[in-house]
Amino acid sequence: MTAPFLQVKDLQVSFPTDDGLVRSVNDVSFGVARGETLGIVGESGSGKSVTSLAIMGLLKGAKRSGEIWLDGISLLDASSEEVRKLRGRKMAMIFQDPLSAMHPFYSVGQQIIEAYRIHHRVTKAVARKHAIDMLNRVGIPRPDKRVDDYPHQFSGGMRQRAMIAMALSCDPELLIADEPTTALDVTVQAQILDLIRDLQRDFNTAVILITHDLGVVSELSDNILVMYAGRAAEYASAEDLFTAPEHPYTWGLLGSMPRLDAEPTDRLLQIKGTPPSMINVPAGCAFHPRCPYADLASRTLVPPLTEVAPGHRVACHIPVEERRRIWQHDIRPAVEGGR
């Protein structure tokens, strides 16, 4: 097997701040092949967005180390100009809130045209035609009219479609979607996810889907990386993660999954406490203050990410058998009882 299209190895990202160096991402590794989808899941501040921005080279003032390989190019060694040329063309990104992510003063068409013409020497007319095609492709009705509308004239879902059209306008081989559906209501969410899946199939794109919501990644992803406080907590295939999760944090996330078939408010399983501040990460396992199973080791030692099954890695001090027992006896019934 050759190296995946995108290979991230031991990525570390840190920011100098007034309060000292903040390590937002620690030793994260993963790979994504063409046509494959990786889901990255975690709360705010878990480092998932920083990871994706680090790949894109969009972090200002951050220190990155480790390795990022995109189609055989080392992004950390490439010049910023080289990386810029890759952006949009080889790797593209969709952001959470399409309203704020699109320039309010330019029409949707202008913004797609701009993205296209940066990487293609074509006339405006050609680019416009392409923009209309792209809008059509992402399912915007009457694209020849809507192309001249401004972002605020679109509905939320349409805006996200337009955003996707813009991101895909140069046929990128890697698409990073950072919380693409968070700002949308549930029915639209499903449409957008379907759209991403369809487009991925058509373009054979590698996709990284970032979300705090396991539900979003459940159907789309081949593999899932659960992050907590800048570290990988669990990394597994989607099937393994949902059927045999091993990290208490993953259990919590599973419990808190909102589902279409249930009243969300009264049955959500929840995690106590609040996510840690990256300025002041708890020692040992960062999750220990919120973990009901924490022991002395959790409080002092950072648990290593160890492979518990082929392609399934977990960073937790609880012995493997104990974890599986808790899952089977305590958690699973609660989660599935909710179902």
Partner: protein, 333 residues
């Protein structure tokens, strides 16, 4: 024992986005004020501004003491020190008239000690600057909260009122009003009345600036949960506005007050410069500058000294205000 993943009343939802804002506080147990102070303490420039302000205030209060050490009262004439023909202090060069007794020289015509006039002038500038700010902040906060909280036609009315205020040529109105101050009114007379009227005019004309800011802040506060909570518990408007919202507006009020004081000091100086300030012989910086106009070529330091006094004071407040804003609202950086 309940399941650890049950839903305790006090648990924070695992909808992570909602809780980020409170993260630092919960974990570190620091109040916003403490954080701000920590930040401010690192901002040497702002601290320098604060130190200058403290020194100025102390100097203004201690003016009678300080001037006793040097050149004496701000109104005593020393005409033996001036050249009557040329209307300038005796002596050669830029610093003619400077001496140990008169560390900042003497006035061209009267020979009055500039140093003590500057110190006494500081009393007027600071007093009016502070009090006028108080008036602006009081009116502005009240109007801003009411507009932001009630919204609707109340908001429209107050917002239009603020627009109208900003549409007036305020300096002209201030001049016109200050020009007709009677000798006695509201049980006050003389300079007390003039200070009161100046404070009122400056404060009254400036309230829309802070009013707009408070209105905006109130609008966003109104959407926050604790206000809803208070309202759902049956709290009435006044209670919500002043017990729930006001404390949350403390930071912007503090920041913009600090930034308004220098603006008001400048306004007072401008009015004095244009001739409608405090009565002579009480010194004020703006008046000193106006007095220096005919002499700027023969006695330049007489112009420079009060100008620098205004500059240093205003700059110090601005530095502190900027620092406070950065400390209390890091996004504004």
């Amino acid at each position: 024992m309940t399941s650890p993943l049950d839903v305790p009343e006090t648990a924070t939802q695992a909808q992570p986005e909602a809780v980020l804002a409170g993260a630092g506080r919960a974990i570190e147990g620091r109040s916003l004020g403490q954080i701000a102070w920590l930040r401010l303490r690192r901002d040497r420039v702002a601290l320098a501004g604060g130190v200058v302000i403290v020194v100025l205030i102390l100097a203004a209060i201690a003016a009678p003491l300080l001037t006793r050490i040097t050149g004496g009262s701000p109104t005593d004439f020393h005409q033996d020190l001036v050249d009557p023909t040329f209307s300038k202090p005796k002596g050669e060069g830029t610093f003619a008239g400077f001496s140990w007794e008169h560390p900042l020289g003497v006035e061209p015509r009267s020979g009055r000690d500039v140093f003590s006039r500057i110190l006494y002038g500081a009393q007027i500038s600071l007093l009016i600057g502070f009090l006028a700010t108080l008036v602006s902040v009081a009116i502005g906060t009240l109007m801003g909260i009411v507009a932001g909280y009630f919204g609707g036609w109340v908001d429209t009315l107050i917002s239009r009122l603020m627009d109208a205020f900003l549409a007036f040529p305020l300096l002209l109105f201030a001049l016109a009003l200050a020009g007709v101050i009677p000798d006695r009114a509201f049980g006050l007379s003389g300079n007390t009345l003039r200070i009161a009227v100046l404070v009122f005019i400056i404060g009254f004309f400036n309230w829309p600036y802070i009013g707009r800011i408070i209105r905006g802040q109130t609008l966003s506060l109104r959407e926050r949960e604790f206000v809803d909570a208070a309202r759902s518990l049956g709290a009435r408007g006044r209670w919500v506005m002043f017990k729930e919202m006001l404390p949350n507006l403390a930071a912007p009020i503090l920041v913009y007050s600090t930034l308004m004081i220098p603006a008001n000091i400048l306004f007072e100086a401008a009015l004095s410069f244009l001739g409608v300030g405090i009565r002579p012989p009480t010194p004020s910086w703006g008046k000193m500058l106006a007095d220096a106009v005919p002499f700027y070529s023969v006695a330049p330091m007489y112009l420079v000294v009060p100008g620098l006094a205004i500059f240093v004071t205003v700059m110090a407040f601005n530095l502190l205000g900027d620092g406070l804003r950065d400390a209390l609202d890091p996004r504004a950086r």
